[in-house]
């Protein structure tokens, strides 16, 4: 990465790149706030079914089967949360020059990311098979938009982490450059935190 990544003097004492990531995350909060509000406003406004309560649980006597297994999404959520912990360990390794630790935990984080993306791909195809698509109704539209854009963020995060992984393998992430990994980690934490909001709002709210 860039050749002068050591902590340099700045007016705030914070590294500029770290500050930039924080700033960007602040902006992203507004992005997800808008998507989540739209979902909340629209989830029960559809003119035709399926409605959220039909999608998640199966009330007796309704012809809609539950089209998503909450346990699967819960597993995905848990995996994502653990990955935040893993990336902290990777960073810990990176900062102490423990390359093995860094590479190992980074790999684990990436695998978690893949698991989550896989979960979502499965979930989306399942939905589509059961007849809920973007076009079906407002619920489908706002659900796919919200979770889809979160998934896109996860994907970008995974690509970023893979880049870090390759750098680490090549020995190009020495401790004094660990800020590079730290930035990816900050973004990854953010993506996780957003899911912590989305999960109850989308899957648990009745």
């Amino acid at each position: 990465m860039s050749d002068h990544a050591h902590a340099l003097e700045t007016s705030t004492g914070l590294d500029s790149r770290k500050l930039a990531i924080w700033t960007f995350i602040g902006s992203e909060c507004m992005f997800f706030a808008s998507l989540i509000s739209t979902y909340v406003v629209y989830r029960n406004k559809s003119l035709v079914g399926p409605f959220p309560h039909e999608a998640w649980v199966s009330p007796a006597g309704q012809h809609f089967e539950p089209i998503i297994e909450i346990p699967l999404v819960t597993a995905g959520t848990a995996v994502l949360l653990f990955s935040s912990f893993f990336v902290v360990l990777a960073l810990y390794g990176a900062q102490r020059g423990n390359r093995k630790m860094m590479i190992g935990w980074l790999g684990a984080t990436i695998l978690c990311g893949f698991f989550f993306i896989g979960m979502q791909v499965y979930e989306f195809t399942h939905f589509v098979h059961k007849g809920l698509t973007l076009q079906t109704n407002l619920f489908g539209a706002s659900f796919f938009t919200l979770t889809g854009f979160h998934g896109t963020h996860v994907t970008i995060g995974v690509i970023w982490l893979i880049t870090m992984f390759i750098l680490a393998l090549r020995g190009q992430l020495p401790p004094e450059n660990s800020i590079n990994l730290e930035m990816a980690a900050l973004y990854w934490h953010f993506v996780d935190v957003v899911w912590v909001v989305i999960f109850p709002v989308v899957y648990l709210m009745k």
Binding site: H4, L19, S34
Partner: protein, 628 residues
């Protein structure tokens, strides 16, 4: 923050490194000053284009039942005029000053992320071109600059017009976001030693607030545009009532962005005026802290008043009352600002130079625009005025009488610093009077036309409604305005022929940029200055008991500077390809998206992994903080 210091040599040694010319050097530049000039020239061209559209609008309205242009082309004209003026003229003209002046004013060598800076510029340029090529297909956006649903649905806007607008705005959003992150970090992190936040020049403060507004407002319209895009391309029903969607949601999202956006347009103007008034009154800014806090307060409430654009949608008395009161609250901090400006001039020894003319006119025009704004805040009043020319009068008093007057003031004020040449005073005064008279002749009658009931965005009108002579008068005003800008162009061309000999400090300035040669050297400060007060340069002059000596040009030996790079431009092309692809047919679209994303990633990766510094031949120096 120490940097290796540098022998006091003359121009020659640095010249080999510093003065590059030719197209390639502009394509790859990462120097904030050159990027500022790129922003300025590009935005001025777009401004002229928007002005041409305005002139056509005015000629269409010069008499009753006129058919100079077709109704559909008329729709394209006013939509592109509004969109161009807001997104391609005022915002990037402000960005020119952010780019050129902020690092100089805070004592920095560049912005925090020089290549990201270049990237924002290229994305902005491509986004602007993208919006305007639509004219070549006869399919320019034609739905009004706020794209109200349901008008923008496939059903009512089947052609690609709205798609151009949709994608163009998304591209410009990428540019704005990148720039906002960059300047936020620059102002936070790269201030010279001793320049505490409460010692920053007011222009930097107001720009800082602008960046925060950009960061928080743009994602909201991004989401709205995404949903509109899904409605148009994938058959969702976010804003389509037949599927349960709600057009009012569009208005909410649009104005949660749109109202802060008007502060994005006016905040930099506040900043410019607060720089000019003290210098030409020979007095420090009156009520510095009040200025800062009123700015923050305006920005803060600005996020809570968006629904004053929606009184006529029938939100009900409670919402109407809330938003009316919240809106009127903004008048308080705005009034604080105006009184502080007047306090600054009060008792000063005023120098009537061109920048001061424009600055004083700004205050007067902005007060008028503000007052008609408060009138709109009264919901029953608004119900009468909305969608008439009264609104058109209001926002032109704020955006033109406010932003454009201030930006022009800034241009005359900082021109010598940017180009090493003084603009001609006499032509400047002519420019001023033409613009001042032309502006008021064009826009003041709009108040009356609005009250008489002429609807805005109207293609033509019947004779005998009493609209005729006022419209004719306005068209005369628009022609005067045309000559005003012509005068400015003549001024620029005339002074361009002269040698670049402007002194470093022609106005007896108070801020750091005037301590540098005009135009500044590529590395800005050979020695990073130390700041002890709000008016560092005045302080230095006081200590010396007189003006400072002309700063010498120094060789810049040993200073690290970011290396030129063309990857930001490549990445910008990728962004453009991505959004273009979304617009194209399902056959080619996905491929274009794929190519766009690949080019984007390719550009970004190369930019990240290329070495980011060169040092000027000579001894190695330490890099300045945060340059990446």
């Amino acid at each position: 923050m120490a940097t290796t210091v540098v022998g006091q040599e003359t121009h020659a040694a640095g010249a080999a490194y510093g003065e590059k010319t030719g197209l390639w050097s502009w394509l790859t530049t990462v120097d904030h000053k050159r990027i500022g000039i790129l922003y300025g020239t590009t935005a001025f061209c777009f401004f002229l284009l928007g002005g041409l559209e305005a002139l056509l609008i005015r000629f269409q309205l010069v008499k009753a039942n006129n058919t100079l242009v077709s109704p559909d082309f008329y729709n394209q004209l006013f939509t592109m005029h509004g969109t161009t003026m807001i997104f391609l003229a005022i915002m990037p003209l402000s960005a020119m000053f952010f780019n050129f002046m902020i690092p100089l004013m805070i004592g920095a060598r560049d912005v925090a992320f020089p290549r990201l800076n270049a990237f924002s510029y290229w994305v902005f340029l491509l986004g602007g071109l993208f919006l305007n090529v639509s004219f070549l297909f006869g399919a320019a956006p034609n739905q009004g600059w706020f794209g109200y649903a349901n008008l923008t649905s496939r059903q009512y806007s089947p052609g690609p017009n709205v798609d151009f607008w949709l994608m163009g705005l998304q591209i410009l959003g990428v540019a704005s976001l990148a720039a906002a992150v960059n300047f936020f970090v620059t102002i936070m992190n790269l201030r010279a030693p001793g320049m505490k936040l409460m010692r920053m020049p007011m222009f930097c403060w107001m720009s800082f607030i602008t960046q925060v507004l950009l960061l928080l407002a743009f994602p909201v319209i991004t989401v709205a545009l995404i949903m509109l895009m899904f409605d148009r391309f994938f058959g969702t029903h976010f804003f389509v009532p037949s599927g349960g969607g709600d057009p009012i949601l569009w208005q909410h999202l649009f104005w949660i962005f749109g109202h802060p956006e008007v502060y994005i347009l006016i905040m930099p103007a506040f900043g410019i005026i607060s720089e000019i008034l003290p210098v030409f009154s020979r007095k420090p800014l009156f009520g510095y802290a009040a200025m800062v806090f009123s700015g923050v307060f305006i920005a803060f409430i600005g996020f809570g008043v968006w629904s004053h654009h929606m009184f006529s949608t029938g939100m009900g008395p409670i919402a109407d009352t809330f938003f009316a009161l919240a809106t009127m609250l903004i008048a308080i901090p705005t009034g604080v600002k105006i009184f502080n400006w007047i306090g600054t001039i009060w008792g000063g020894s005023i120098q009537y130079k061109t920048p001061m003319y424009f600055a004083l006119a700004f205050i007067a025009m902005f007060i008028m625009g503000g007052l008609s704004g408060v009138m709109h805040a009264v919901a029953p009043h608004d119900l009468q005025q909305t969608d008439t020319y009264f609104v058109v009068a209001h926002f032109h008093y704020v955006m033109f009488g406010g932003s454009i007057f201030a930006l022009t003031a800034g241009a005359y004020y900082w021109w010598p610093k940017m180009f090493g040449r003084m603009l001609d005073e006499r032509l400047g005064k002519i420019h001023f009077w033409l613009m001042f008279i032309g502006f008021n002749v064009t826009f003041f009658p709009m108040h009356f036309l609005g009250l008489l009931g002429q609807p805005r965005r109207t293609y033509t009108y019947q004779a005998g409604l009493g609209f005729d002579w006022l419209n004719q008068l306005e068209t005369v005003g628009a022609v005067i305005l045309f000559f005003a800008f012509l005068t400015f162009l003549i001024n620029v061309i005339k002074t361009w022929r002269r040698p670049a000999t402007a002194p470093a400090d022609p106005w007896n300035g108070a801020t750091l940029e005037w301590s540098l040669p005009s135009p500044p050297q590529e590395w800005n400060f050979a020695e990073v200055p130390v700041v002890h007060s709000r008016d560092p340069l005045w302080e230095r002059k006081r200590e010396r008991g007189g003006p400072l000596p002309e700063p010498l040009r120094v060789s810049g030996q040993g200073i690290h500077l970011p290396a030129p790079s063309f990857w930001p431009a490549v990445a910008a092309v990728g962004v453009m390809g991505l959004f273009l692809g979304i617009m194209l047919s399902p056959k080619v679209g996905p491929w274009a998206i794929f190519v766009g994303v690949s080019v984007l990633f390719f550009g970004v990766f190369n930019w990240i992994f290329e070495p980011s510094y060169t040092s000027i031949p000579g001894v190695g120096g330490r890099p300045r903080a945060g340059h990446h």
